[in-house]
């Protein structure tokens, strides 16, 4: 079962031309996400769960569900490492 995540409270962000620019207010660091990362971030912002995000990736890009799930998990780990997302209850 997947844990649910949301953008962390200390982050502010904007979507510009499909690219997510996320600023961590704790250290004023600007993170520019990749195309797929921005796609995932947009869905995270809406409160979508990782498994649903993976399914939407398979719809948008030509990848298998297994591959999409792995990509989403990996990306979530990266976001967690940087403290850009927080687990939700």
């Amino acid at each position: 079962m997947h844990t649910n995540y949301r953008p962390a409270a200390h982050c502010a962000w904007r979507m510009i031309d499909g690219v997510a620019f996320v600023v961590d207010s704790r250290n004023s660091t600007l993170h520019e996400l990749s195309e797929t990362g921005s796609f995932i971030w947009k869905l995270l912002e809406k409160g979508e769960k990782p498994d649903k995000i993976a399914r939407q990736i398979t719809d948008a890009y030509e990848v298998s569900l297994g591959e999409a799930s792995r990509d989403v998990d990996e990306f979530m780990q990266q976001l967690q490492t940087y403290g850009l997302i927080a687990k939700t209850v």
């Binding site: 962000w13 904007r14 031309d17 520019e32």
Partner: protein
């Protein structure tokens, strides 16, 4: 003896200083004379404390949240501001450099709340409008200011961007770099372009995408607050600038003339079509 308040106006921001001595009054009147306002109506009140105890453990200026407001501190100044900006108490070394450094940081805090920003940029007034030439230290802000002429210069270091009635404006600020102009000239006009400069062999300009523009703008913003709401406002005004005015990279050489640069800005300005415009 009671000293009267002195009010300065920088762009949209008015600050009224309650000075503890004539020496403080003289410092403000001398170095901010072109920014003096006639009255302190709607100004943010700041009380300067005549007694200051330096904390040498804070080498770099910073803003930290206290329970009910913000603390700005460096080894030579410290201030406390309440959340509603109804009161600020400042203790600082009595010299223009300490005071000016504090004012820069304080302005970023005020503008973060108002939705404006200080951009590392030289600026000029041209035909009633403002043109900004942004860049990090060493990119050529003072050099381009010399080329464009000091008479129309707003600053060679930091200029103010804010929004009024839906239109972005660029205003002068009393914050200078290499040229060390005492107070400069006061100007506030519609923002007609931001050019991120670099030294090159010849003059060339290239319009940036909105994504490229916001990166450059954020990279040159003077910003200290760690409040996510303030960061959100900084992103909002940066996005507005990236989308509503031409934002370009501009390469120039020491041989480039004022006329060539202005012609270049006119061409990029004409090509620019704002979304929905």
């Amino acid at each position: 003896m009671k000293h009267r308040g002195l009010t300065i106006r920088i762009g949209v921001v008015k600050i009224c200083f309650d000075c503890p001595s004539h020496r403080w009054e003289t410092l403000i009147k001398t170095h901010y004379r072109t920014f003096m306002a006639k009255n302190g109506r709607n100004a943010i009140p700041v009380t300067i404390n005549g007694i200051f105890h330096p904390d040498t453990n804070i080498p770099d200026a910073g803003i930290s949240a206290t329970g009910d407001g913000w603390r700005i501190a460096r080894s030579d100044f410290v201030s406390f501001t309440d959340k509603d900006f109804r009161h600020t108490l400042l203790g600082a070394a009595l010299n223009r450099y300490s005071f000016n450094s504090w004012l820069r940081v304080f302005m970023t805090l005020v503008l973060a709340r108002e939705g404006g920003m200080l951009l590392h940029s030289a600026g000029i007034s041209h035909n009633g409008n403002t043109l900004l030439f942004g860049g990090v230290s060493g990119s050529g802000k003072s050099t381009i200011t010399k080329i464009l002429g000091k008479n129309t210069a707003l600053s060679d270091e930091l200029t103010l961007i804010y929004e009024k009635n839906g239109v972005l404006r660029g205003a002068s600020a009393p914050f200078w770099g290499e040229l060390k102009k005492d107070c400069g000239r006061r100007f506030d006009g519609p923002l007609k372009g931001i050019y991120f400069i670099s030294h090159g062999q010849r003059l060339s300009a290239e319009k940036l995408t909105a994504a490229g523009a916001i990166k450059r703008i954020l990279g040159c913003a003077l910003f200290f607050s760690k409040d996510p709401a303030h960061v959100d406002k900084l992103l909002a005004i940066s996005e507005k600038a990236a989308r509503s005015v031409p934002v370009c990279s501009l390469e120039f050489s020491l041989q480039t003339t004022r006329q060539e640069i202005l012609k270049c800005t006119q061409i990029t300005g004409r090509r620019h079509i704002a979304p929905g415009g």
